[in-house]
Amino acid sequence: MKESEVQINRVDWIAVSIYFALVMIGWFNIYAVTYDSQVEKSIFDFTISSGKQLVWIGTAIGLITLIMVADYRFFENLSLIIYLIFLLILIVTPIFGKEVNGQILSIGFGEFRIQPGEFAKFATALALAKVMERPTFDLNKRNYQAIAFGVLLVPVALILLQPDPGTAMVYLSLLIMFYREGLPQWYYVLGIGAVSITLLALGVENNLYLAAIIVLVVGGLIYLGKKSWQRILAFSLIGIGLIAYIYSIDFVVSKLPPHHQNRIMVLFNPDIDPLGVGWNVTQSKIAIGSGGFFGKGYLEGTQTKFDFVPEQDTDFIFCTIGEEFGWMGSLVVIGLFVGLLYRLVIMAERQKTRFSRIYGYCVISILLFHFMINISMTVGLFPVVGIPLPFFSYGGSSLWSFTILLFIFIKLDSSRASQLGRIS
C-alpha cells in the first residue's frame, strides 16, 4: 500500500487526462443522442443512457482505483490464470448466455451482464505479454510463432462461436504488437497484399482488367530479370494463382447468401440499397456530413437525435460528434485518440521489462483498431461491424474493459522504476 502512494507521482498524467477527456466528451454525446427538447431530461436522469453511463463511469473510476493500488506484480503473476478464467467463461457463454439476434454475447444475472468477449481482450494481452516476455522468445522462429498465435487464436475461435466476428477481428489487431516484437516483415507484406488484391477483386467490376495488369507485371518481371526456366515457371505460377484467386473471390461471393453479399458490396457502393443494408452507412454519413466545419451546435443535431442513425449511442456515437461539432469536433476527437496512442507508444518504449512493453503494445493495437475501424465504419470506409468506440460508446462492458485494459498498463508504467530491467 505504501508503495502505491509513492508511485502516484509516477503515474502518466497525460494519458490519464486524455482518458478522462474522452470519457467526458463521450458522456456528453450520449446525452445529446437521447436529448429530446420536448421531453427535457437531465443528463443525470437514470432512466436515460447518459444517466446510466454515469454509473458506469463511476464504477470505472472504482476499478481504476483498485488497479492503481494493487501490486503491479499481481497482473504479471496472475496473467495466465486470468487468461484461463476468461477462456472458461468464453466456453460457457454460449451455453448459459443470453441470446440476442442469434448472438450470445453476454453472461450474468438479471440486469448485471458482462460481455466476456470484451474483457478477454485484456486477459489475452496479459497472457501474450507473459508468454512472450522471456528474452529467448523469438518471433522469427516457427515454434515461438506457433505459441504466440496459439494464445491469440484460442479466444478468437471461442468468440467466433458466439458468433461475434467484429470482436474476433479486434484480436487480429494484436498483429501490430507482433510486428513490434519482431514477427518477420514479409508476413505483413503478404497479408496486406492479399487484402489489397481481395478488395480490388471485389471493388473492380471487370476482373479482366486486374488479370491484364497481373499478366503485364509478371511478364515485365520475367523480361527484366534472369531468364532461368525455374524463375519463369515460378513467376508464371504466381501470376496464374493470383488470377485464379481473383476469379474465385467473385465465385465465393456469388455463393454467399444475398444479405452477406450486399453487406460487402455496400462498402463499394452504399447507394445500391440505401433503405436496406446501406441504411446505417447512408444515414451515418448524412449525419456526419451535415455537420459542416463547425457543426450544428451541442444538442442541435437532428439526424442522431431523431433516430435516423441506428445504434447511435453505441457503435455510431461518432455521428453525434460529426453532426454537432463538425469537422473541428472530429479533429479534436481524432486528435485526442492520436495523442493517446502516441503517448502510449512513448510509454511502451520506455518500459524496462518486455512484459510491460508487450502489454503496452497490446493496448495500443486494440485501441488503434477500435478507433480506426469504428470511425471508418461511420464514414463508409469500412463495412459495418459492431465494435464500439473506446471510452465513448455507451455501455458498461465496453467502458470497463477499455478502462481495465488501459489502466493496467498505466499501473505497469508507473511502477517501472521498481521493475527489474530485463529488456535485452
Binding site: G291, F306, V379
Partner: protein
Amino acid sequence: MRDQRPAVILLVIFLLSGILLVKLFAIQVLDDSFLKRAESNAIQRIVDHPYRGLVYDRSGKLMVFNNPIFDLMVVPREFHLKDTAKFCELFRISKEQLIEGYNSAKSYSKVKPSPLIKQLSNTDFARIQDFLVDYPGLFILTRSVRSYPSPTAAHALGYIGEISAGQLGRDTLSYYSQGDYVGLSGLEKYYEKELRGNKGVKYKMVNVRGMDKGPFKEGQYDTISIAGKNLTSTIDLDLQQFGELLMAGKTGSVVAIEPKTGEILAMISAPFYDPNQLTGAEFGKTYKVLNTDNSKPLFNRPIMATYPPGSIFKIVQSLIGLQEGILTPNSTFSCNKSLVACHNHPNPVNLFGAIRNSCNPYYHQAFRQIINREVSSNTFKDTEIGLNAWRESVLKFGLGAPLGIDMSGEKGGDIPSSKLYDRIYGAGHWKYSTIYSLSIGQGEMQVTPLQMANLAAIFANKGYYYTPHLIKEVDGDPKKIPAKFQEKRFVGVDARHFDLIQEAMVEAIYGTAARAVMTDLVIAGKTGTAQNPHGEDHSVFIAFAPKDNPKIAIAVYVENAGWGGRAAASTASLMIEKYIRKTISRPELQDYVIAGNFIY
C-alpha cells in the same frame, strides 16, 4: 532494423488518422449534399395555405366561401388493423375499397401519407373523428374548396384551379408552386393577388418515423400565413338570380349597371352553369363537359360576344350630330325609303321623331352630313377625314375598345376606321355610299353587351360614365378598388343635348317596346335588332330608369329571339322593376319571358 518498428507503427497511426480526417473533411466541408439530405430527412417544410378571401354581394350576402373538405389519410407503415370488419363498418367502406386504397397508398410511400378515403362529408367526419385515436397511422387532412351558397353569377365570379406549367413559368417571384390553386377566370383571376393572401411556411422537425418533434430552431424561420382579402362585389345577388331565372334556357346576356358609379348590378351570361360544379375534385370532369358543350356555357357573353349595335346606335349618331352642330332638335329629313328600308311612321320627322320611330333614312341622311363636311373637294378624301373624326367621337362612348372591366378576356368590339375600308376597297375607292350602313349601327361595327349597358349608363348620366366594374370594396374599403374605377369619364357631348335624347327614349318604348312600359316607373329605352345572317335576329334592348335620377342602366341581348321589343325589352323591364321595386307586379310578363316563345 527492429528499432525502426515503433516509428513505423507511429507512422501508420498518423497516416490512418490523416486518411480519416481527409475523408471527414471531404464529406463534412467540401460536400454539402449531406446537409441537404439531412434537412430532407429531418426537416419538413410545411406550407401553410392561407384562407382565400370571401366574396360578398353589394348588400353583404355571402357569394363565395371556403368549404372545408376532409380526406382520411393513411401512413401505411404505422397503420395496423386487427379487426378489418369492424373498421369497414365504422368507416363505412367495403373491404375491397379498403384493400385497394391501402395498396395504392403503400405503393406510393410507406412513410408518407396518402388519401384512403377522399372528401368525407361533414357528418362522416364528425362520426369518424372519435374513432381515429384507435387507429394509428390514420389522420384527417383538411382542405378547402370554393363554395357558392347560391349557384349564381358563375361567369362573373370565375373559378380557381391548379396552376398550369405556363403560369408557373411566368411567376417570376416564385410565389406559386406546383399544385397551388389560382384564379383562372372572372373575379378569382382578376383579384387573385387580393384574394390569395400570403402563404406561410413552417419548418418542423420529424424523427425517422415521421413523428413531429417540434418546430425547427424554435420556429425562427417560420412565417405566418395571411388570409386573403375579402371582396364586396357590386353584384346584387337578388337581381342576379332573378336575371338568371329569366335567362334560363336562352342564349344571351344581361348587364345591369348603376349609372352613377359604374358598378355592375347583374351580369348574366346564358347559358350558365352552377359554379359549385367547378370546384374541388369535380373540376376536371365538369370542365371537360362544359368546355365541349355546343352551347358554350363557359363563354362569357357579356364581355366576349360581339354584335352590331343596330338601331340603338342611332342615339349615338344623334348625340354626335348635336354636339358637332350638324343636327339640331329641329333638323328634319324625309323618310326616303329609296335610301334605306324603313317601316311606316309619320313622315317627315325631326330628331325626336327619328329616335322615337327609329327612322333609317333619317340617319342615312344625317350621317352623310356628319361624314361629308366638304373639308376636301375630293369626295373620297372628304369621306375618309369625316369617318376618322366620327370614329374618334364614337370611341369616347366606350365603344370599339375594351372598357377595362375587372375581368380578363374582354373584347373591344370594332368601330371601323378608314384603314379598314382602304384594306377592303383600296384607298380612294370608297365613299359615303360604301359605308352608309354604319349610320344605323349595321355594317362593320361590333360592340359587346357590356359596352351597350355602359352606353345606357352614359345616356342616363347625360354624358359620362365610370368604367364598369364588379368590385365595390376590398376588405371593406371602397378606396382600395383599382383607381381606374373611381375616375369619371366624359364622352365629349354636352349634357344639354341629352335631354331630348332621354325624352325620345321614354317615348320610344311606347312605340317599339310597349311591353316594357310601366305605369308608375318611367323607363327610357331603345330597342335594337342585331341582324343575324345565320338565323333569327338577336333581340336587343337598352334602357335606364327611372328617367329622372336613374338608378339602373341595362342592356339585354337575347340571341335568335327576333325583334328587340319582345324578349329583350320585356326582360329589361322586369329587371328594372325587380331592382327598383324589389317585387314583380307583372307575373304574366315574367311567365312570358320565362316561357321564351318570342318568335310568332
